[in-house]
Symmetry: C2
């Protein structure tokens, strides 16, 4: 590419900066930005590795983010590609994707110079400069239609104003500046085009296992669907395995996303239907369609799950997920979640999942086990709560019965709640002592449920306890939210992927129903208003008649922390292991895992609180 | 002083260091230590101001601490004088005076060189070097019999391992190294002579008001008492004002401590006896003596209170504490707390308090008001709690009735609990919004109750609410701890000193007794064991029969956070203001004060994590 390409740079301030900084006008392949006059660290070498992870930030794909993770440096290198750059861009993170109280980097111009700074937005969305500049600009380079920024951020900065990058979901936020601002403080996010993108930033560093020589692939794709012009669509499509398809192991799978639809296809799952039905009707349409056959609700056994930003999913070398053969259904359900906030019309899509499978069965069958709460209304969340916690247990008694002496090895996990879920965590305890976090997401979103590889395999032995806690926000609810299957009811589930497969499919709990009735009686006696405890009242009705105040809320919490539980220690969703599973004592935890103190980066790496003047080099764009 | 004084330096390693570093042998007046070879900051100028505060750390006075506070720099300069230095010294702070989990500075020698470092002790008392060196050594100087260390520490370091220096009590800890250690990590506090001293480090910067021209003084001192050879003695001494002593204003008072007893006299208070008794018997003896006349219990109106480390107490220029004249008793009780852990025998003492008073009455009478909880067993703390909170309210209804439209102005505060108290805080709320902290002590100790000047006067207007919360630790109790006067019962009180004096002497609350009975019924119904709710059972008996578990504990908490209260809005301890004070609603708080984010010191001030090699200059000693 020759010098002529300068014409496609639209922003005059960018041209001004490029001229002012004395950059050569011919494209400089991979040129690093020279140190600015202030001597800030703009000239560091780029990270050794390229960027294995990549995601579009906005629905139009104007902002593209790539990144890599260094667990040694405890830092992330980001490369932000801005197509059609106007007067600048914001990028950062916040608790749940809001533009207020966000931790941001800002590239802006006052018309003459361009600046880069670590900033934060207050409750009202107004920007302020961080006292500590923890985002470190490494390179700013002009491209054919905009700009490429390379910068670095430690996981933890120890600046109380900053976001702590943790395992699990991170809500990335962005904003587009369309005109110059005289200063950083003049910017308020409320006036900008903004958005959010959920992603797992801290991808685990798991080595990629080799594929078997006889690996074959199968694509489960939507049949040239016309994406509806509405914000949210769950598309359901039924397909089937070939007649006589024998038992195989799935060893890997990856997403196939139709080109151009990268920002629309939000997540996809492949389910296997229940073996007890001879056949399933074919269907292709929205999952909430009245035309959808009832029987498709029996297609719930997960074979593969992908969400935006996820890469290929590899089973560990020693295990594979069995499918096909006798005793398993030939019918598969593909579910695609289209997220179309701009309500784009007329777009067609054939996205799906490509399964990599082998007929040479691996040493172990992989299995999926459900941990957490039973789907029952006895577990309920009062309304108007910002962070109410429900906990489900897999007790020592159940693991003692159901797990082999050599234990099982959990290598991946998919967390699941309905709409009010905000955090999920599963902890492994042994002899009353918390030993390990199986999976934790402090910024969990029901809109972003991916299967995640664990950074470290967690082994669970007979007698161990698995405790799954979900935190809910019911600020927008007027009545209690009870447990159940409905989208307005709640779940607290961790689907753990493990090997070797055991008979234990489900290890979940709920509060004992008799103790819950004691609670309703107590509420009746203590409060002036009456709770409907007439014999014909259902539990949801009883919860609906509780006059919610701090006392009734606190006592419900106290009940859940104290009352005995009913265990579901099941071979399949209906068949329990033999034993007494009602009125079981709550597992006692005598020592908790200590929160690791975040390691603050070395002082030397941080710069004092002044923006960096940016001089933009010209790259290959 | 000439060079001959070197003989009195006992520690050979110290001599070695003094020789090795090439320091001149003649005493160098005020010589600063030159920068060490490593170039660490030992050569900074001393702080401009001298050290207004001073306290002995150990009962023998071998360690003397002086300090000043810079609210501009948000830092404290410490001068630690070590008499009879052996092989080194530890000094630092911890939550409650334990040597484990402490934030420490250590001066130690390996026999050849001496080192200074910012360190911390783990749960087992073993020392570790801090990654951040936040204690900054400014000077190390030999003295006639040891060493003087000058160092600086910011209030907040933002190192999660470090102690945060807050308002209120700080538990200083020390340890004496008697032999060299090859390294810092070789030191464990458990093998050392150690101790603690409680002190308010962050003294308020209140300008000293001028004394009236006609100021006179009166000394209330113990009558040459033979200090008992036991760890704890509260000495009671009754004295009286002269016949016909007219109404005066106390404008200032200070402690008089008998020379040599500085480390033994822990705190002193002067009380005025009740006016309703014509006379009181004279007495001088331990307050818990069986010989002490019963009537002395009526001498409870505080005139002056001093505790170790406190300086003179000045009333604000516009106010004085009235005493003398008609309607007030001539009898005074002096109480001296001797703390004699080494059980020193035969020491005599005449310590006491010197009152400065004027007959030219100031504009306002100062008053003392009691906030917090009524002394009643309805407020109880379950056993085995590490941080149970009880809260007492002074409601808007009471302040509306009792306070003048121009408000009252609180300038000082004395917090009070019995043995299980660990934190106390009073917050002012207006229209449901928390507005100001009246006084807070996050490291409160019942063994260190001083009257503290507030950094800023807090004005309270009709309709305001004052909320006093106390945090208790009952880990060593087997039964519930109920409210009451007994030393094994609990209190939650803030005596606020204010002007102008009003009729409101007491503004306190307790949970409604009827709702507490509902709680006992509920416990009865919910638990298998029975709580004694027979009509003749007293509330302490009822609490004693509660089978404590997480549910009964959590529900009691829920009750205290929900149930209506009974208010004591009293003119004197027995006379209520007119109105309905039972079954009052709990004040509603819709917005809480935000915790200020600690300001981290500038990076440049901190040094990386290596010990400083110490070269010791020779001062005047």
């Amino acid at each position: 590419m020759g010098p002529g390409r300068r014409e496609v740079v639209h922003s005059t301030w960018l041209e001004a900066v490029v001229k002012a900084c004395g950059c050569r006008e011919e494209p400089l392949s991979g040129q690093l930005l020279r140190d600015s006059a202030e001597g800030h660290q703009q000239g560091s070498a780029p990270p050794e590795s390229p960027f294995p992870y990549h995601i579009p930030l906005d629905p139009e794909g104007a902002l593209e983010l790539s990144w890599n993770v260094s667990y040694v440096q405890k830092a992330i290198h980001f490369q932000l590609l801005v197509h059609g750059l106007k007067a600048g861009v914001l990028f950062g993170m916040s608790d749940r994707g809001e533009l207020e109280n966000a931790d941001l980097v800002v590239l802006w111009t006052n018309g003459d110079s361009a600046y880069f700074a670590d900033a934060w937005s207050d409750q009202k969305g107004q920007l302020h400069l961080d006292a500590q500049q923890d985002y470190q600009l490494l390179r700013a380079q002009g491209t054919s239609d905009g700009l490429s920024l390379l910068f670095k951020r430690p996981f933890a900065t120890c600046d109380p104003q900053d976001y702590l990058i943790e395992d699990g979901t991170v809500h990335l936020v962005y904003g587009i500046l369309k005109e110059p601002f005289r200063s950083l403080e003049a910017i308020n996010t409320s006036g900008l085009q903004t958005g959010l993108q959920r992603v797992q930033l801290l991808k685990p560093e798991v080595p990629t296992p080799a594929m078997p020589a006889d690996t074959r692939t199968m694509e489960i794709r939507s049949p040239d669907v016309l994406i509806p012009g509405q914000e949210t669509t769950y598309w359901c499509y039924i397909t089937e395995l070939p007649q006589g398809f024998s038992r195989h192991h799935i060893v890997m799978y990856e997403a196939i996303v139709t080109e151009g639809n990268e920002a629309l296809v939000h997540h996809m799952e492949v389910f296997q239907c229940a073996a007890e039905f001879e056949s399933f009707p074919h269907f292709s349409g929205p999952c909430d369609s009245k035309m959808k056959p009832e029987r498709l609700n029996y297609c719930r056994h997960v074979l593969a799950a992908w969400a935006l930003g996820a890469k290929a999913f590899y089973y560990p070398e020693e295990a594979g997920l069995p499918f096909g053969g006798p005793g398993s259904s030939r019918y598969l359900r593909l579910e695609v979640h289209y997220h179309n906030p701009l309500k784009i019309q007329g777009r067609r899509d054939s996205s799906g999942i490509r399964l990599y499978y082998t007929s040479t069965l691996r040493q172990f069958d992989a299995g999926i086990m459900e941990l957490g709460l039973v789907y029952t209304p006895v577990m309920a969340i009062p309304p108007q709560e910002t962070a109410f916690i429900l906990t489900g247990y897999c007790t020592d008694k159940c693991t003692q019965l159901a797990l082999p002496p050599s234990g099982i090895h959990i290598f991946a996990s998919q967390l699941h709640t309905h709409l009010t879920g905000r955090k999920v965590v599963t902890v492994l305890a042994r002899d009353g002592q918390e030993k390990a976090i199986v999976n934790r997401d402090n910024h969990y979103s029901p809109h972003f449920q991916e299967i995640r590889m664990l950074k470290k395999i967690v082994s669970v032995y007979p007698g161990d306890v698995l405790i799954t806690s979900c935190t809910y926000n019911t600020e927008d609810r007027k009545l209690a939210t009870v447990g159940g299957f409905g989208i307005l009811e709640e779940m607290c589930v961790n689907y753990v992927h493990y090997y070797p497969q055991t008979q234990l499919e489900l290890c979940k709990s709920a509060v004992d129903a008799g103790f819950l009735q004691k609670y309703f009686h107590l509420v009746n006696r203590f409060n002036s208003e009456d709770v409907c405890t007439c014999p014909q009242a259902s539990i949801p009705q009883q919860f609906a008649s509780v006059p919610w105040n701090s006392f009734n809320r606190d006592v419900l919490k106290a009940l859940y922390d104290f009352a005995p539980i009913s265990m579901h220690c099941n071979k399949s969703s209906a068949v329990r292991f033999q034993g007494e599973w009602d009125l079981q004592p709550l597992p006692e935890i005598i020592s908790m895992l200590e929160e690791p103190t975040p390691q603050c980066p070395n002082n030397q790496a941080r710069s004092p609180g002044v923006p960096t003047v940016v001089s933009i080099g010209r790259g290959r764009g």
